[in-house]
């Protein structure tokens, strides 16, 4: 993984010192809360319903074991002993005191971490495939490119006060695990005409009040031109994007207003001016960063017969292996998903003790590296197959071996009204009760891949539009009302879910989802996925089951 050099380290330390000054000026009263707000919001510090929340960047979701230990220490010392992993591969601490934040940032800096641009109208953490460097279908490891984007976007002097926040995702594989279609810019790697690697560029995806899928902006962008092209897009957005209405200020609105062709003309015209500037990537720098992501030293191991044997002997292990393992391009290895979705638990939450223990397991079994997924789970990316059984037992004893990846209890939920100042309804308790109710149905009927996403307001942080089943918590006449969408997907077959009908109260929503699933089971053919059944038969049977013949 990437390791800071002196320059990287100087920057995060200076930024932490700068923030210490800003906090001191706030505490002394020199800065009013109004003046301080935009400053803290550029450094991941939100004022929530009960306390400050600090969002720490985990660039492209990659953590070293010592970094996870540092997060555990912070959770223990400054929070209530846990942290919350988000859908953008970051971590949040929910119970932070303002006066502690400078010390926290210093501790983060010592672990080569920071909170820079985890909030605010600027370029946010670039996300990528949690199976980077692992997936067999990968064209190239996207992490070096994500690191290049991280550096370019960090404290960018021109793009620190954009019309609105800006999110970039990058995928190295044709199978999209990064939800490219719902990002402001999506980059998918491919081979160009001469066999060189580059990117297909997508623009204007996003969820929120006006969900839109990204449109193709450029079919092939050579790698060396990545930053000049991004700069051209951002420059057009900074000048042309709307600032008069919060809900119309994302780039998706600009793209849809201008039309993709006109938008492309503007970008290409700008790009022509800067393509041959100092933004052109220097091969020496690309190689330097690439070298940081070279594969770990795998041991030559044959495909393990022991692994197959254990699965035959132990049904629980077999079930976990079927659900939570991902094939590794290195024979004899697997990538393991560590579920942060125990049945009845809070999606994405992790206790400090679990973090420390998992850091130890990462050192023992997976080259000291942990990854965060946009489904709010963690990954140990390089585990020998003959170690899987021991690892599974250790994870199980920590409560981290729920066999549910991409299954109905692997619910993505935002913090909602329990924490978030913008929420219109709770999402965590709905997730907890749903997973309790659905775990048993899944065990009996093997529901296969079925994703549920729950957002606590229209800001859609839990991406409910792209859940196979999406739930949006609204407020209606003083009470929580949950709107259900069906048919979303964020994979390469991306689609936006459609609203099935009127919303459900807090006491009805769990039963409503159960009704949808029970209805589906009667119509399901040959073990197909819920999404495929829905695409085959349409929403009518579900509407009828929920609302009767109206």
């Amino acid at each position: 993984m990437y390791a800071y050099d002196g320059l990287d380290e100087t920057l995060v330390r200076e930024r932490a010192t700068q923030f210490r000054g800003q906090v001191a000026r706030r505490i002394s009263g020199e800065l009013s809360e109004d003046d301080f707000k935009p400053l803290r919001l550029r450094n991941g510090l939100y004022l929530q319903l009960h306390a400050y929340m600090l969002r720490v960047a985990i660039p492209y979701g990659v953590l070293g074991s010592d970094q996870l230990r540092a997060l555990a220490r912070i959770a223990r010392r400054y929070d209530r002993g846990y942290g919350h992993f988000t859908t953008r591969q970051n971590i949040q601490f929910n119970w932070i005191r303002l006066a502690d934040t400078p010390d926290i940032l210093d501790e983060l800096a010592a672990a080569e971490m920071h909170a820079i641009q985890t909030s605010g109208n600027c370029i946010r953490n670039t996300t990528t495939d949690q199976f980077a460097g692992v997936a067999a279908d990968e064209i190239e490891d996207p992490r070096p490119w994500a690191e290049i984007i991280r550096q370019w976007s960090t404290l960018h002097p021109e793009f620190s006060f954009l019309p609105r926040k800006f999110k970039i995702a990058i995928s190295g594989s044709p199978s999209d695990r990064t939800a490219i279609a719902v990002h402001d810019i999506g980059l998918s790697m491919l081979h160009g005409p001469g066999g060189e690697t580059g990117f297909k560029v997508w623009v204007g995806g996003g969820l929120g009040r006006t969900p839109m899928l990204a449109e193709a902006l450029r079919d092939f962008l050579p790698g060396a031109d990545l930053l000049s092209y991004l700069e051209a897009i951002l420059r057009v957005f900074n000048i042309e994007g709307r600032r008069d209405n919060l809900y119309k200020s994302r780039i998706k609105i600009l793209v849809s207003t201008l039309g993709i062709d006109r938008f492309r003309d503007l970008v290409e015209a700008e790009w022509a001016q800067i393509r041959d500037s100092a933004l052109r990537l220097d091969e020496a720098e690309v190689s330097r960063i690439r070298a940081r992501f070279s594969p770990p030293a795998y041991e030559a191991t044959a495909e393990s017969g022991q692994f197959a044997g254990r699965r035959l002997e132990d049904a629980a292990f077999a079930r976990w292996s079927a659900a939570n393992l991902f094939p590794h391009k290195q024979p004899g290895y697997a990538a393991v998903t560590v579920s942060l979705k125990p049945v009845g638990g809070i999606p994405g939450d992790m206790a400090a003790d679990q973090m420390d223990a998992l850091a130890g397991l990462a050192d023992e079994y997976s080259h000291g590296e942990i990854r965060v997924t946009h489904r709010q789970n963690l990954i140990l990316a390089h585990v020998r197959q003959d170690s899987l059984y021991d690892l599974w037992r250790a994870l199980d004893s920590l409560g981290l071996a729920t066999p549910n990846l991409m299954r109905v209890t692997d619910i993505i939920a935002c913090p909602g009204l329990d924490f978030c100042g913008l929420a219109t309804a709770r999402s965590i308790p709905v997730a907890q009760r749903l997973s309790e109710r659905l775990a048993e149905i899944d065990e009996r009927h093997d529901l296969g891949e079925l994703t549920i996403n729950i957002s606590g307001c229209i800001n859609s942080c839990a991406h409910h539009h792209v859940g196979h089943i999406g739930i949006l918590g609204l407020e209606k006449a003083g009470a929580e009302s949950y709107q259900v969408t069906l048919g979303g997907s964020s994979a390469e077959d991306a689609s936006l879910g459609k609203i099935i009908g009127r919303g459900f109260g807090a006491d009805e929503i769990v039963t409503a989802i159960e009704t949808i699933i029970v209805t589906w089971l009667e119509l399901r053919q040959d073990g197909e996925r819920f999404l495929d059944s829905l695409r085959r038969i349409g929403p009518a049977p579900f509407r009828e089951a929920l609302y009767g013949r109206e």
Binding site: D5, Q18, N121, P157, F159, F161, L227, R235, R243, L279
Partner: protein, 174 residues
């Protein structure tokens, strides 16, 4: 208002030789003056004969591209920041310096926050009008708070990548 001048590469509180003249008001006969873009477009004929430096002010939605051929006439361009959410003139400044070759004073006006100054400087601003009541010493201390630059901009700051791969300087043969 306090003016911080960075024209010679080190920030200092400076007296202001310039007057911002409101639309409709008379230009001072003996001092350099700035006028709005609006006024320039409406009545440049009355202005071009003056033998004193002229400056122009742009609001955040106004574009410098409207008057590119006129740029050599201006000794100062003032770009306004109405609030912290409006960052359009960060782009304007870079274009003026990097693309349109503007060499006069580039002044940030409006809500110029201490904590934006480093970024503005990188985009090519070399003068900053601090809003009333803001501590000038604190603003001066803000220059160079971040010494590392990851990206090329309008200033001469070498980027991190350039520093990393700079060819070692050859020792001169003596």
């Amino acid at each position: 208002m306090t003016l911080i001048d960075y024209g010679n590469g080190s920030p200092a509180i400076a007296g202001d030789a310039w007057t911002h003249v409101a639309d409709g008001a008379v230009l001072p006969p003996d001092r350099p003056a700035t006028i709005s873009l609006e006024r320039w477009k409406a009545g440049r004929d009355g202005l071009t004969g003056r033998n004193l430096p002229l400056g122009i002010r742009l609001e955040s939605h106004e574009r410098i591209e409207e008057i590119l051929p006129d740029l050599p006439r201006f000794a100062l361009i003032a770009l306004d920041f109405p609030n912290l959410n409006d960052g359009r003139h960060f782009t304007t400044a870079r274009l003026l310096r990097e693309r349109y070759g503007f060499r006069g004073q580039l002044r940030a006006t409006g809500q110029v926050l201490r904590d934006q100054i480093d970024l503005m400087k990188r985009c090519g601003f070399d003068a900053f009008e601090l809003p009333a009541g803001k501590d000038a010493a604190s603003a001066i201390a803000a220059f160079g708070e971040i010494s590392v630059a990851y990206q090329p901009a309008a200033d001469a700051h070498p980027t991190a990548a350039q520093l990393r791969h700079r060819q070692p300087v050859q020792a001169m043969a003596s």
